[in-house]
C-alpha cells in the first residue's frame, strides 16, 4: 500500500433540496489501496461515489485528487449493469475503451478472456445473457481502461456464490497487476473484508464516514478459519453493531 492520498474529501456537504445527504464529510483514500465503504440503504454511498466520479458536485467543501489522478478519467462500475441493449458484449466493451497508453489493454484482455470468459460471448446481445454474465461484462468494462481510480458500486451483487468468487478472484489479481486505487461500496461485510485494505462506515444519521479500520484479512477466502480469528470476529461484530445502531431511531 502506498502512502500519499489518492482522494481527499474535506468538509464535503451534499444536499438535495431540504435533504442533507452528506454533511461536512471528510475522507482520505490512500494511493493503491482498496477502500471499502459500508452503509445502510439510503446512507448516501452511491452519492459519495458519484461525487468522486465528478458526476455530481458538492454544495460545499473540497474534493482533491493526487496529481496522477487529477484531471484523468476514472472508471466506474455501476450498480445496474448499464449495458447498452442494442450493442453486443464486444461492442459494449469497445464503446467504453479509451486507453491510449503504451501496453495498455493487456491486463483487460487477460481479465476478459481468461478470468471472466467473456471472449466466448463477445457476439451476444445483452438480453441473451444471464444476470450474472451481465454483471461480469459490467465489471470487465470498469477495468478495460486500466484507470488509476476505479469506483465500484456493489459490483458483486446479484451473483451466485461461484460467479461472485470468480469476479472477486479476478479483482484481487487485478489489484496486484495494475497500479490502481479502488473504492468499493457494498452492504456485504464479508465481501468488504475479502477485497478491501481499509473499511469505513457511512452513517445515515451523522451523514459522515467514521474512521476506517485497517483490514488484515484481505484476499482470504477460508471463511471457517477466518471466523476462528478473534480480530476478524471483532471487525465483523463492529460492522454488525454499526448496522444495528443505524436502524435505531435517533
Amino acid at each position: 500500500m502506498a502512502n500519499s492520498p489518492a482522494v481527499v474529501f474535506k468538509d464535503v456537504t451534499l444536499r438535495y433540496g431540504q435533504t442533507t445527504v452528506l454533511d461536512r464529510l471528510n475522507l482520505s483514500v490512500e494511493t493503491g489501496e482498496v477502500f471499502g465503504i459500508l452503509g445502510c440503504v439510503g446512507a448516501g454511498k452511491t452519492r459519495l461515489l458519484r461525487l468522486m466520479a465528478g458526476l455530481e458536485q458538492p454544495e460545499s467543501g473540497t474534493i482533491d485528487f493526487s496529481p496522477e489522478i487529477r484531471g484523468q478519467p476514472v472508471s466506474y462500475i455501476f450498480q445496474q449493469d448499464l449495458l447498452v441493449p442494442w450493442l453486443t458484449v464486444g461492442e459494449n466493451l469497445r464503446l467504453c475503451k479509451r486507453v491510449k497508453r503504451e501496453n495498455a489493454g493487456q491486463i483487460s484482455d487477460w481479465l476478459i478472456c481468461k478470468q471472466l470468459g467473456l471472449d466466448l460471448i463477445e457476439g451476444k446481445m445483452p438480453y441473451q445473457l444471464s444476470g450474472g454474465m451481465r454483471k461480469k461484462v459490467n465489471f470487465a468494462r470498469g477495468f478495460i481502461n486500466e484507470d488509476r481510480l476505479i469506483l465500484m458500486d456493489e459490483p458483486f451483487g446479484a451473483l451466485d456464490p461461484a460467479q461472485k468468487r470468480d469476479i472477486q478472484q479476478g479483482f484481487l489479481l487485478l489489484t496486484q497487476k495494475v497500479e490502481m486505487t479502488a473504492v468499493l461500496v457494498t452492504h456485504d461485510i464479508r465481501e468488504a473484508l475479502l477485497v478491501c485494505d481499509r473499511i469505513a462506515f457511512l452513517s445515515a444519521k451523522t451523514k459522515r464516514l467514521n474512521e476506517g479500520v485497517v483490514n488484515p484479512f484481505r484476499g482470504r477466502f477460508d471463511v471457517n478459519e477466518l471466523f476462528g480469528e478473534p480480530q476478524y470476529r471483532e471487525i465483523f461484530q463492529a460492522a454488525l453493531d454499526f448496522y444495528d445502531d443505524e436502524r435505531r431511531l435517533p
Partner: protein, 255 residues
Amino acid sequence: MNSRARFFIGFLSVVLFILVWDFASRIGWIDADLFPPITRIFQRALELIFDAEFIARDLFGSMRRLFYAGVLVLPVALFLGIWAGAKPWVNATLSPFVNFTLPFPKVAIFPLMLAIFGIGDLGKIVLIGIGLFYPLFINVLHGTLRLSSGDFVDLTNIYQVRGWALWYHVYWRGLTGDILVGLKASLGYGFTLVIVSELSASNNGLGNFIWRSWDAFQILDMYAAVFWLCFLGWIVQSALDRALVYHFRLSPPRT
C-alpha cells in the same frame, strides 16, 4: 396461438369476407352499383395494373410526390429530432412552433399551399412533407431525450464516449426503433395527404384518378384505385413492420 394458426384464421376471415360481399352483391342483398361484386373489383384492379396510363400518370404520379416529400423532409425531421433531443436549447427553440402547429389538421392549409406555391406539384409536395415531418420528428425527439437523460448519460460521461461512437453507436443505433415507428406513422399519414392533395387542383395521381372516376360514376375504378392504394400502403407498412420485428429481436426494449 401459433403463427400458422394466426395466419390461417386471418386468411379464412379474408376469404369469408370476399365470398359474403361477392355473393351479397350478385344476388342483390346490397346495391351492386355501389358495392359491385368484389371479384369484379379485383379484375378491374388487374386490368389497371397493365394500363400504362394509369401506372405512369396516376400511380407513379402519387408515388413521385410522396417520394419527393420524403426525400426533402424525412432527413430534416430526423436531424432536427436528434438535435433537439440532444441539445436542450434547440428543443426550447423548436418546441413552441411544434406544439402550436402539431394539433391542426394539415389538410386545412392545403388552400394556403395552393395560394403560395400555385396548383403545380410543389404545393402538394410541401403539404405532404409537412404531414410527414411531425410523426418522425416527435418519435426521434423523444427517443433522443430518453437516451440523453439518466443512466446512459452517466455511462457516456464516465467513459468519455464522444464523436462518432456517441452519435452512431449510442444515438443512431439506439434510435432505430423510434425511427422505424416514426416512419410508419409518417408514411401512413403521408398516403392520406397524397390522396387529399390530388382530389382537387391536380390532373394526375391516385387521388385525381378516384375523383375522375367519381365524376364519371366509374365505381369499379374507384374501388380498384383504392385497392392499389391499400396494397401499396400494406407493402410499405409490412416492410417497416418486418424491420421493426428484426430490430427488436436484436435489441428488445429495456425492461
